[in-house]
Subunit: 414 residues, 2 copies
């Protein structure tokens, strides 16, 4: 039996136990985890130092090293995030529907944990605590499989959390970290149907695509976001410029950032200079189609592969379109069903766009950057689902649940 | 491009169109499909005759030939089932949640179609009409891939339905049948990520397992049901015998039939003779553990592989257990998370069982045979999901939907 398989067997046992645990115990476990992270701050920082030394030797970029780095302040922030998750309403045992049948059967559709959730992720060690807290809050057990860059940090964080949950009476194995960071251990996880109920990849497009392509275990796909803002002929152009500026520059590296704007030809000559003026503040590189280049002399000409490109950077593609339908066609062809926006004062056009564009979140007159668990009021999230099965959009604790039908009878037969 | 890939491209186009279609048009399409099935009854029966002749030559069993056979009455029943689906409340555009954020954003969580659903199934031609109706009712488009035994029947049924939907203005390609019934065409379907949004296998365990193991497209697993009835020491024994009789014999070939009973040792001597007496009416073969065999002399001794066996036949396994926990252990080990029942007058024990047993449906004092879309009040179903992701239990039209967040702003940025 592989090491990962042995872990999965233990996880499945821990999952059984979790089904018997009250919301109060789960909440206490999270609070104990948060305390333990702070109490073990020094150990976690020393472990992190090993990762930082190895990462520096391996030539990781400054940006990656920054994402990897932990200090007392960052650990407190991680602990606070765990406490915030603890404070969320309990997602388990909620009655979603109650059906009374003519034969007297009472059927309750009730939320239950998904079971064993495996999370495969890359460099950031905060994902370790965050994923464990979200999974436990929703009554699940978790198998964590982080990247090799953060293995010492992840191990220290996991050990602190395991001791904490054991101290409140939960099985330590409701949180496990795969110590082996070779590709094989991820592949093993992807094959554990019957043990792992769902696998969530958190990271770059390469990781996510490899999991989607290879996993036999059901996957919730997260991440890739090529988001567009369409500026309609009836748009308020100042509002449009503000929204584009926010959606592009407030955090270009995230999946809900805007990568491309589509501008109605009737307003392009007025809108584009306004938008350029705003974006110049952040030195955003613009890449336009022919018409955009004519309106904004000096900008770069967009190439075919600029459409549908997730720059994750201060770069924006611009296309001038003949009408809303051309904009929707472009989104259909190049979008990733993440977040799409229309800016317009024409409410009928807005409704048509909102109805016909197929994405996790569709916006009228607001920035795509709002597609986020916190901004939606869900609390923390484990990612943004861009698939349509099970959950779409921000994955909060409610999305980490399944349901069961509890049926009360008095001897009914069929 | 493979033939299946070409079909998927057409399906994806049709799906875009479906997003613009009103509930009334979808309903009319279903009514037109039902009419067309009846109007083309003679053609469908002739096509079916070709399948029957081929099936007889190929040596199909009488049971399989009966499932394959169509006549005017059966076609009318299929048409009626399509009309029943047409009459269901529209599942699309329902607002599941409406969130007002402090910044003024209004977020509506709204049901939308899943998109392109592929259904891979075996011999029964009624699945063709039924799947198409359920998918279209929920705003989806469907790619059907039936078995070779029913290819002529399926083709005739599909042609009738395609003409009908085209006549009401929908693209004919919202219903397509894969003409190639070789294994390769199913494999092609399983690889179409980005085109097929979900794949639903309907059929025997072999088909379902092969799809779960091979598909790159998200799958909703249906079907396998090893259901138990646990008879507690506080059970009403007459009720227990009625429930077991119903759960085992009303239709032994289906997934919600009972395969094994677990009887508390304190009541085994009283309960088992009652149960045998009832089951003798249908000549059910009993296979007991040692204690059961001692109580019911002459019954067969159960072997290890009787536990967890889906007999689909008039056979029942019997195990005497020391307490409810042993019963729950047995279910944990051998169940398929489909439907599990406790018979008891001890409501505290019942609650513990209902909470701790992990299955799509858990029953107190009622037959497992109620796990069914019709019996739950959902109307028709496309199967019973035994997985935890997306949907669990009967898959009605509401389970064939996804959601999208529609966000209304007035210029909000983050």
């Amino acid at each position: 039996m592989s090491e990962v398989m042995e872990m999965a067997v233990r996880a499945k046992e821990a999952k059984r136990y979790m089904a018997t645990v009250s919301p109060a115990v789960r909440k206490n476990a999270l609070l104990a985890m948060a305390d333990a992270l702070e109490q073990n701050s020094d150990d976690i920082v020393s472990a992190n130092l090993q990762d930082m030394v190895a990462g520096t030797k391996a030539g990781l970029s400054a940006a990656l090293l920054d994402r990897l780095m932990l200090d007392g302040t960052r650990i407190s922030a991680i602990a606070q995030s765990v406490r915030d998750i603890a404070a969320l309403p309990d997602p388990i045992g909620r009655v979603l529907e109650s059906i009374q049948r003519p034969n007297g059967l009472r059927i309750m559709k009730m939320t239950v944990p998904l079971g064993v959730i495996a999370v495969i992720y890359e460099a950031r060690p905060n994902v370790t605590a965050d994923s464990a807290a979200l999974c436990l809050k929703s009554g699940n057990v978790v198998i964590l499989r982080g990247g090799k860059e953060a293995i010492h940090s992840n191990t220290a964080i996991t050990e602190a959390m395991r001791s904490a949950v054991a101290a409140v009476g939960l099985p330590a194995d409701c949180i496990q970290l795969v110590p082996d960071t070779r590709r094989e251990s991820a592949n093993d996880l992807m094959g554990l149907t019957g043990y792992v109920d769902v696998l969530i990849p958190r990271g770059g497009r390469g990781l996510i695509q490899s999991v989607v392509q290879q996993s036999r275990v059901p996957v919730i796909e997260t991440g890739a976001g090529v988001c567009h803002v369409y500026i309609d002929k009836a748009a308020d152009l100042d509002m449009a410029a503000d929204i584009v500026y926010n959606a592009k520059t407030s955090r270009p590296s995230v999946c809900n950032a805007c990568e491309c704007i589509l501008v109605h030809k009737d307003v392009a000559a007025a809108a584009l200079p306004l938008i350029r003026q705003k974006l110049d503040e952040k030195k955003v590189e613009l890449r336009g189609d022919e018409t955009a280049c004519a309106i904004l002399p000096g900008i770069k000409q967009a190439q075919e592969d600029d459409w549908g490109q997730e720059y994750n950077d201060y770069i924006l593609a611009i296309k001038v379109v003949n009408d809303m339908f051309e904009a929707m066609d472009h989104i259909y062809r190049y979008g990733t069903m993440h977040s799409e926006c229309i800016v317009t004062e024409d409410y009928e056009a807005a409704e048509r766009f909102l109805q016909q564009v197929d994405a996790a979140a569709v916006y009228h007159n607001a920035s795509t950057r709002f597609t986020d668990g916190g901004e939606f009021g869900f609390g923390a999230e484990i990612g943004i689902s861009t698939q349509k099965l099970h959950a779409r959009g921000p994955l909060g604790v409610n999305e980490l649940t399944s349901i069961k039908y509890v049926v009360y009878g008095s001897g009914q037969v069929r």
